[in-house]
Subunit: 117 residues, 2 copies
């Protein structure tokens, strides 16, 4: 179980940075990208991008494979499933607020309906 | 939009700690708890718990209200909704793996069915 907790720590920590989230979002759209391609959109130096990739790699969120001089980075989204499962137990709060909102709108509509006649 | 990103940074960073996640999980079950009650299950000092509560408070994940000498902590789960919405785009990967698994099981069953007759 200790592993599961550490794993969640690493996943959430890896997601707590906009550059890392942007890299993951790009890898969600493209099946594999080179490190230099991934670095292009950012106004940060390549070594900084490499550090972000290390964090993502240690969290198990990406894989890197080398062919010749090119390192291809791919998404490995499994750890995000556990993060989402952890968050899912709080869903009832949002649906509860939505239920209250729906009840409010219905009550208002009923009132408006009465008033209009 | 800068706010939205910072907000996600803070939410994910706040979730990257097992003590903070345990506090949130407890507040999910109990509607409000005092700081000393929250601190009890942990083998850490009260000031450390207070620091964790500060991180959760700054991320907007809890509210604190004081009545006399008692501070009551309550869950404020809204920021987790954005975190979950962010993660949701990766869901297709898990359902895709499940689809492949289902196809594999079906193929195996079909094979076993043929072999058995």
């Amino acid at each position: 179980m200790a592993n599961y907790y550490e794993h969640l720590d690493q996943t959430f920590a890896a997601l707590a940075d906009p550059t890392r989230r942007a890299i993951l979002a790009r890898l969600e759209r493209e099946d594999g990208a080179s490190v230099s391609d991934l670095a292009k959109p950012f106004a940060i130096k390549l070594p900084t991008v490499m550090k972000h990739l290390d964090v993502l790699g240690e969290a198990g969120l990406i894989t890197r494979s080398k062919l010749g001089r090119t390192v291809t980075v791919r998404l490995s989204p499994e750890p995000m499933k556990d993060a989402m499962d952890w968050l899912r137990r709080y869903e009832r709060f949002w649906s509860a607020s939505l239920d209250r909102l729906a009840a409010y709108v219905e009550a208002k509509e009923a009132e408006a309906g009465k008033g209009g006649r």
